[in-house]
Amino acid sequence: MNTTSLVRRSLKRDLRDSTLRILMAALIIAIAAVASVGFFTDRVSRALKMQAHELMAADLLLRSSSPVPDAVSAQAASLGLQMAETVNFPSVVLNGQDDSQLVSVKAVSEQYPLRGALSTQTADGATAEVSPAPVPGSVYVEPALMTFSGGAPLWVGELQLSVAREILSEPDRGQGFSELAPRVMMNLADLPQSGLITEGSRARYALLLAGEADALAAFRDWFEAQDLPQLSLRDVDNARPAMARVLRQISTYFGLAALVTVLLAGAAIAMSVGQFAQEQAIAGAVLRTLGARRRWVLRWLFQRLGLIALIALWPGVLLGLAVQALLTLVLGDLFALDLPPASFAPVAYAAAVTLLALAGFASLPVLRAGAVPVVAVLRQGGGRLDSRARNALLLALLTCVVLMFLQTGDWKLVLIMTLALFLVTAVFAIGGAAIYRLLGRLVPSRQTLLRLVLRRRTPLMLLQLSVFGLTLMAMLLIGVVRGDLMRAWEMTIPSDAPNRFLVNVRPDQQTGVQALLEQTLDFDGRLYPVTRARLVSVNGEPAAERYAGNADAEGFLRHDFNLSYSDSAPAHNTLIEGQWWSAPAAENLISVESGFAERLGLRSGDRLGFSIGSQLREGVVSNLREVSWESFQVNFYAITSRAMLEDLPAMYITGYRQGPQQPDITATLARQFPGVTVIDTGRIMQQAQQIMARGSLAVQSVFLFTLAAGIIVLLAAVRSSRAARIRELAVLRTMGASHRQVRASIWLEFTLMGATAGFLAAFFASLTAWLIARQLLEASYHPDPLVWVIGVTGGAVLVGISGYLANRGVLNRAPLAALRGDV
C-alpha cells in the first residue's frame, strides 16, 4: 500500500494536533528568521554586485591623497582608456545671507561619470536622468542645499558659483562621515581659482578609468609593476569596501540572531517531535501487527513531518518577507542603493536550514518510534521511548554546530559561540536555581502552593528560564541600556572639550585664525601643523613586510594619517617614556602615542620612515606619550621635531569650543579664510546616534523572532510534560485543592519563572553595561531602574500569559480520568 494516501488522510488530523502545531510554529519562526535576514542581505549584496560599475562611476579607480602623477594618466591614455578625474574634500559654503554650511565638495572633470549616470533636475522641475558634469562657473547641489541657497549663487571658497541643478542621484556617492554633509559638485577647472586646495590640503584625488577589458588588464599589469604606494587601485570586486564590510557585519550579527532563533526553534522541534514520536510509537506497532513493514511505517512518519515542514515553509517565508521589508525600511537607505526585488535564493537557503534542523533534531526520535518492538501492543503502557536518548542529544548538538557553521562560515566563531552559549545558559540556570532555593527558604510553610511551585526546579524548567533570561537580556541591552551607556559616555566628555574642529587652515591664515578665535571665544589653545603621511619602514625594514599578516598594524599602513611637529609636548598628553626634545632640535625625532607604539611594537630608538607626498623622511623614536582620546582635543599618533617636517607643505588644524552664548564664528571663518573647514562634531554625533538607533531597532526586530522561539520552546515543554502535569494537578484536586487554587498554581509557576528570568536579565544587562562603562568608556554608570522594571514585569507578563494559555486545557481535565492514566 502506498503511504501517500495515508499521509494525506493523516494530514487533516495532524494539522489540528497540538504537538504538531507547536512543531509547525517552531518551523515557521525558524524559517522566517533565516529568510528575513537572507532576503535583506541578498538584496543588498546583489545590488552591490549589479551596481558595482555605477558605484565607482568607472571600471577601474585609482585613489590617492595627493594628485595622481601625470605618468599614470599618460599610460592610461596610451592604452586608449577613457579618463575622468575627481577631487573630494569637506568645505564650507556661504549663501547670499552669509549663512555658512558644511558641505562635501566634489570637483569633477567634464568626462565624469564614465559609468552610471548623474541624475539631476532644474529649479523648474525638469529632470535629466543623464546629466553632464557641471560647466565652469556653476555647481550642482543636493536637495538640502537648494533651500540653503534659495536658488542664488553660493560662495565656494573665493568663487561665487551659480546653482545650476539639483542632484537627484550620483553614482559613486560615498557613505563615510566626511560624506555626511550635503554635496556640492563643481567643475574641476574652477578648483584652482577657488583657493580651496593648496599643497597639503586634506583632499581625496581619484582617477576614473573605463574601457575594453584587455586595455584595463594591461593598465593593471603596468600599474602593479610600478612603485606607487600612495595610490590604491579599486575594481568592481572591491568597489565599496566600507559598504561590503558593513554588509558583512550586518549579515554576521543578524545571522547570529537568526541562528539563536533557529537553535531555540530546534529545541522546540526536538521536544515536539519527541512527543510526536512517543504518540506514534504504538500506532506504528499496531500498523505492523496489521501487516505493515517497518520501513513503510517510517516512511509514513517521515512523510508526515516533511509535509508539515513544507506547509510551514510558506507562512515562514511570508513572515520573513514582511520583516525584511521592515529591515529595508529602517536600514535600506544607509546603503544608498536601488535594491533589486527579493530573489528565491534565501527561500531555498531557509528551507535547507530548516530541513537540516528538522532532520538533526527529529530523525532519531522518529527512528526510535519506528523501532518500538511490535509486541509492545500487548503490554499495558508499552511503547515508551527512552527519554534519555544520548544519541539524539549528540545528533542535536552536531546539528547545532553544523547550523552555526553554515551561518557564520567560521569554525573559531562557532567554537566561541558554543562555549559562550553553554556558559551563559549555565550562569542563568545556576542563578535561577539559587533564587528559587532562596525563595524556598523564605516562604512560610503554610504557603503550600508556592512551596510546591518553588520545588519544580527541573533541569528543563531551568533551561527554559535561561532561554528567556538570555533573550530578555539581549533586548534590554539593545533597547534600554544602550541609551544609558550613550548618556554615560557623553557625561565623560569634559565641559570645555572642543565641539568644533577647524581643518585646512593654510600657513598664511594661521595667525589670523588664531587671533579671531582668541578675540571672540577666549581661545587659549594653538593651531597644529599637519602633514598627511604613511608609515613605510621601521629600522630600514619595509613596513609592509614587517607587519604582513598583522591585521591590527596593517590598518595603519593602508591609510595616510596626520603627522604634526612641535617644539613642546602637548599640554594634555603625558610622557610615559623618554624625554621631550629641547627646542629647536636639530635631529629628526619622533614622539609616539603609546597605544600606536604597542600595536606596532615600537620602542624608543626605533627608526621610522614616512612617505609624505613624493618625499621620504626618517626619524628616531625619542619618547612615548599617553593620550586621553576621550578629551576630544586635537591629538596625534606621531609628533616630530620641527627639523623633520618644517620644510614640507602643511595645513593647520585646531579644536575649539563654541558655547551656546558665544557668537557663531563659522560664517566669519569661511568668509575671511577661504578653504578653512569647520566640522561640527555635535551634529556628527547626533547623526551617528540616529544611525545607531535605527540599527538597534533593526536588531530588535530580529530578536523578536528569538523571543517568539523562546515562547514556542515553552509551549513545547509544557506540551511534553502535559501528562505528568495533569496527574500532578489531579492528585492536588483529590487532596482538596480548589479549581481556583490549581489555576493560581499555574499562574504562579510561570509568572515566577518569567520574573526570575527578567530579574536575572536585568542584573546581567546592568553588569554588562557597568563593565562596558568602566572598562571601555571609563565612565561611571548608574543602572537605570527602568531596566529592572521592564525586565521583571516584562518577563513575568510574557512568560506568565504564555504558560497559562499553554496549560489551559489541563485545568479542565477530570481528576478521575487523569488518575486512571487516561490522558
Binding site: 500500500m1 500498523l287 505492523r288 501487527t289
Partner: protein, 231 residues
C-alpha cells in the same frame, strides 16, 4: 483432558518447544518453558492463567510479534523462524486479525478509516463499503466518521473487532479483549466476536483470565509458571 497440541483438522498454527527467558534483577527468569501447541482451522482455543503467567508473551510469539529463544512457530503453514520481522508482517497482512485489551485504534483516523486501513494494508483497495457495512453490523453505523477519542470504550473495542474481522482473517488473536470494559460492554463484545468468528470461519486464540469466557472456546489451555497444560 486433551493435550495442548491436540487438533483434529489441518492446523493453522503450531508451536514447538517454545521457550523464553528474560533478564530480571535477580538473574534470568523463565517466562515460557518448552511450550508446544497447535490450533486447527476454525478452532477456538483459550489460554487462561493468572497475571504474569506468560500468556501475553506466548500470544506475541504465536503471532510473530516477537521471537522465541528456542523453538519455532508455524503460522499458516509458514515457519516464522525463517522470516524476518517484515516477512512476518507480510504473512499476517489480511490473514491474521488482532483484538487488544487497550483497543489500539489509531488516534488520527476515523472509525471507518481505522477499519479500511486493515484492508488497504492487505492490498485490498476500494472496499470501503465492506468496512462501513461491517461497522454498521456492529451497531456503529452512525459513528463512521468519529475519531477514537469521540467513542466510548465499548464502541472503540467494536471498531477494533471490525478492523480485525474486515479482512475475513484465517486466524484471530485476542488479548484480554474485555479487560478494559465493564461487564455489559464486555459481554456484548464477546458475543459479537464469537458470532463474527463463526460467520467468517476464523480460528481464534484467546488470552484471558476469565474462566467463563474461556468456556465459550472449543478448548482451554492453562498457563502456569511458563508451562502450558490442557484443562
Amino acid at each position: 483432558m486433551t493435550s495442548p497440541e491436540q487438533s483434529d483438522n489441518v492446523s493453522v498454527l503450531s508451536a514447538q518447544a517454545l521457550s523464553r527467558t528474560v533478564q530480571g534483577p535477580e538473574g534470568p527468569m523463565t517466562i515460557l518453558d518448552d511450550v508446544s501447541l497447535s490450533v486447527a482451522e476454525g478452532e477456538a482455543v483459550a489460554i487462561v492463567g493468572p497475571s504474569g503467567s506468560g500468556k501475553s508473551t506466548l500470544l506475541g510469539l504465536l503471532a510473530g510479534l516477537d521471537v522465541p529463544d528456542h523453538g519455532d512457530v508455524h503460522l499458516l503453514g509458514q515457519s516464522l523462524a525463517a522470516l524476518d520481522e517484515d516477512g512476518r508482517a507480510q504473512l499476517r497482512a489480511g490473514r491474521v486479525g488482532f483484538v487488544f485489551q487497550s483497543f489500539h485504534l489509531l488516534p488520527g483516523f476515523t472509525a471507518l478509516e481505522n477499519v479500511t486501513l486493515a484492508l488497504e494494508l492487505a492490498g485490498r483497495h476500494g472496499e470501503q463499503d465492506a468496512a462501513a457495512q461491517l461497522l454498521g453490523q456492529l451497531g456503529l453505523g452512525s459513528r463512521l466518521q468519529h475519531y477514537p477519542d469521540q467513542l466510548s470504550g465499548g464502541e472503540q473495542q467494536r471498531v477494533a473487532l471490525a478492523r480485525a474481522f474486515v479482512t475475513r482473517p484465517v486466524l484471530l488473536f485476542a488479548d484480554e479483549p474485555t479487560g478494559n470494559l465493564d461487564a455489559g460492554n464486555g459481554e456484548k463484545t464477546i458475543s459479537l466476536m464469537f458470532s463474527l468468528r463463526e460467520e467468517f470461519g476464523s480460528s481464534l486464540v484467546l488470552v484471558t483470565h476469565d474462566p467463563a469466557l474461556a468456556q465459550r472456546c472449543d478448548r482451554s489451555l492453562s498457563m502456569q509458571a511458563g508451562k502450558l497444560t490442557a484443562l
